[in-house]
């Protein structure tokens, strides 16, 4: 029987190693590509959010546990982290900054042990609602215990403590970036490894069918509880890293809004794939930080974006990516490309028109009727003049109509390509 060991059993370690090494390389060289202070800070934020989103997906994607309160663990991790740093700088404690994330992780874990016991008693909607209550409780407490939470202004710290070790003081952003990158790598490997352990598989089983798990010898509550504790550990790491990065932690770190944010972006990234949450984290930072910088209408765009993703790509960005990759792998791109590029073009035209209109509307609403001219994509627009509306409206009309016309043929081509692939897969299986 050992002789007939099937091929598929040996995991394709080579491919996996390549992926992980390129991930490491990417982390290493990203600052060279985006070297300005602000992009470094963005990269750092993405890093922490990635850990947070991955840890959240341990619950949602792996365990089917929809938590509305995951920020509790990252937030409390952050608070403990920042208090630790303040203790270190006060001289009462001696821990290098690079290990503060570990402290945060342990703190997250501690609160995971504490709160998780209550929340994981139930699953499904009940779990979601308990976590909602829990996060609101902790958040409300943050105003009641200003000693620990610092009230509305939060607790701040200075990450440059003591003498630099090996010339690293963690003052410059780049040093913080690499600290985050290293922890991100460790955490990502750790969380991926988790999916390949007995507990990691069992939480999948619990997600699919909790009832049956009880009849193969496992206590579902324990499976959920342990997973939550581990997930809270990683959340705590991300919290402490963000404390180091921002040098401030405030009550919003433990809020329902923060918890909702991670849910949103994890989902947008794609909960069905391990790396989905990472894409979500990148998007999350881009959308909330950059977009709000670029336009006042960012919340409108954000809302529309969510709606579109949910309606047209419920598997998240990762699923779109994987489906396209699959089409590519099976060499069917030439089949869908002709209808695809036209559709993309139509969408782009539609979006362009919509963006121009929205921006002009905002200009009018914020600046009053005498709204000044504005620059958009390097072109000047005068929203006050009715004539200025012709272009965007035309763009929207043309884009919209061609979208409606082109969609069926794309949908058909896309559908055919995918059935082809399924056929091929089925044949290779049989």
């Amino acid at each position: 029987m050992i002789m007939t060991k099937p091929l598929s059993y040996t995991p394709i370690n080579l491919g996996r190693r390549i992926i992980w090494s390129s991930f490491a390389l990417l982390l290493l060289f990203a600052p060279l590509l985006f070297s300005s202070g602000a992009s470094l800070s963005l990269l750092s934020q993405m890093g922490t959010l990635m850990i947070f989103a991955l840890s959240f997906n341990m619950l949602l994607g792996q365990g089917g546990m929809l938590s509305f309160g995951h920020a509790v663990y990252s937030g409390l991790g952050a608070f403990i982290g920042i208090h630790t740093m303040n203790l270190v700088s006060a001289g009462t404690l001696s821990i290098p900054i690079s290990l503060v994330p570990l402290v945060g992780g342990c703190a997250g874990m501690f609160f995971g042990v504490l709160f998780g016991y209550v929340t994981t008693k139930k699953s499904g909607t009940t779990f979601s609602m308990i976590t909602l209550g829990m996060v609101e409780l902790v958040f409300a407490c943050s105003l009641m215990f200003p000693g620990f939470f610092g009230g509305e202004g939060g607790i701040s710290t200075n990450r440059v403590i003591g003498k630099p070790i090996l010339g690293i003081s963690f003052g410059p952003q780049i040093e913080v970036y690499y600290l985050i990158a290293i922890w991100l790598f460790i955490s990502a490997v750790g969380m991926y490894a988790f999916t390949q352990t007995p507990l990691g598989r069992l939480i999948n089983a619990v997600r699919d069918n909790p009832e049956r798990v009880e009849f193969i010898g496992y206590n579902t509550q324990w499976v959920r509880y342990l997973t939550l504790i581990l997930s809270a550990f990683f959340a705590g790491i991300s919290g402490a890293l963000s404390a180091i990065n921002f040098e401030i932690v405030s009550a919003e770190n433990v809020s329902a809004i923060r918890s909702g944010g991670v849910l949103l972006f994890t989902f947008i990234g794609g909960i069905g794939f391990f790396f989905g949450p990472m894409i979500g984290a990148i998007l999350g930072v881009l959308l909330t930080v950059i977009l709000s910088d670029l336009t006042k209408a960012w919340q409108l765009y954000l809302g529309i974006f969510f709606i579109l993703v949910v309606m047209y790509a419920p598997g998240g960005i990762a699923s779109i990516l994987m489906m396209n990759l699959r089409v590519l792998k099976f060499g069917l791109y030439k089949k869908i490309w002709p209808s695809m590029w036209k559709l993309i073009l139509a969408c782009a035209v539609l979006a362009l028109g919509a963006v121009i209109s929205i921006e002009m509307l905002y200009q009018i609403s914020l600046e009053g009727a005498g709204a000044a001219d504005m620059q958009l994509f390097g072109v000047a627009f005068a929203p006050a003049k009715p004539s200025a509306w012709i272009v965007p409206l035309m763009l929207m009309l043309v884009g919209g109509l061609s979208f409606l016309r082109l969609r069926p043929s794309f949908a058909r081509d896309w559908g055919e390509a995918n059935t082809d692939i399924q056929e091929q897969l089925r044949r290779s299986q049989a």
Partner: protein, 255 residues
């Protein structure tokens, strides 16, 4: 006094006002194949649910290998060596066939809630799963998501998940429901094969399966075991005929 594999002592169960199980007594010796038959709603599945810990019993006692298990939770009972299948297929739909079975063997191999061991490094689990795959005939469907299997394959997997942990008392609830003749014949063969040396308790409405497989038949009517005997005696039992069989007792036994 012999220790029975499974013993029910005056087990009672009420849901709200209605008493569904009204003092059932049953003794299943080690290594025997028992079939439970009875009219719809007699309480057969409920009996299984009580034994396997899905519901708590109202009174009485259930002994597994002489040990009282009547207050234990399902997973505790499972760890003591009793495993059951479900009337309505109850597997992990999004996991592959292989993973379904691997989940089912982990506890019995002592891996518990481990998150420090690599699944793929667990040789014994792999071998055990391979063996089960072979037995239930799903060897070349291993990587398919369980939800995509055909009905009969799912039923086979259901049985596979039930036996994979190596329990020595197996409870099967209508294992052949919804199968065609040839499929259910195959299922009978499968069950016969995988329960060698084990204690089997099985609910079935298909008399050819019952009479083909069982060493003994227990008849449950209105929450009571009204008869428990060899197939031949059961077939000729007037009470059973009235309550359950009607004119349907198969003529040829164990073809």
């Amino acid at each position: 006094m012999t220790v029975f594999s499974l013993e029910l002592k005056d087990v009672r169960k009420s849901f709200g006002q209605s008493e569904i199980i009204r003092g059932s007594n049953l003794q299943v010796p080690k290594g025997e194949r028992f079939a439970i038959i009875g009219p719809n709603g007699a309480g057969k599945s409920t009996l299984f649910n009580l034994i396997s810990g899905r519901f708590p019993i109202s009174s009485g006692a259930i002994l597994l290998n002489g040990e009282d298990i009547s207050r234990l939770r399902p997973f505790e009972i499972n760890r003591r060596g009793l495993s059951r299948s479900f009337q309505i297929t109850n597997i992990f739909h999004r996991l592959s066939v292989y993973e379904n079975l691997r989940c089912a063997v982990l506890w019995s191999l002592g891996y518990k809630y481990s998150f420090w061991q690599r699944l793929n490094g667990l040789k014994d689990a792999h071998e055990r799963v391979e063996a089960v795959l072979e037995q239930i005939g799903l060897k070349n469907r291993r990587e398919i998501g369980a939800g995509l299997l055909t009905y009969a394959e799912q039923r086979a997997l259901e049985i596979g998940v039930t036996i994979a942990g190596g329990a020595d008392v197996i409870l099967l609830d209508e294992p052949t429901a919804g199968m065609s003749r040839s499929e259910s014949d195959a299922a009978v063969e499968l069950i016969r094969k995988v329960t060698v040396g084990k204690t089997l308790l099985m609910v079935e409405h298909d008399m050819s399966v019952v009479f083909g497989l069982a060493d003994k038949i227990a008849v449950v009517v209105y929450g009571e075991v009204i008869a428990c005997d060899t197939p031949i005696n059961i077939r000729n039992n007037q009470k059973v005929k009235d309550a359950y069989l009607g004119g349907h007792a198969p003529v040829e036994v164990a073809a």
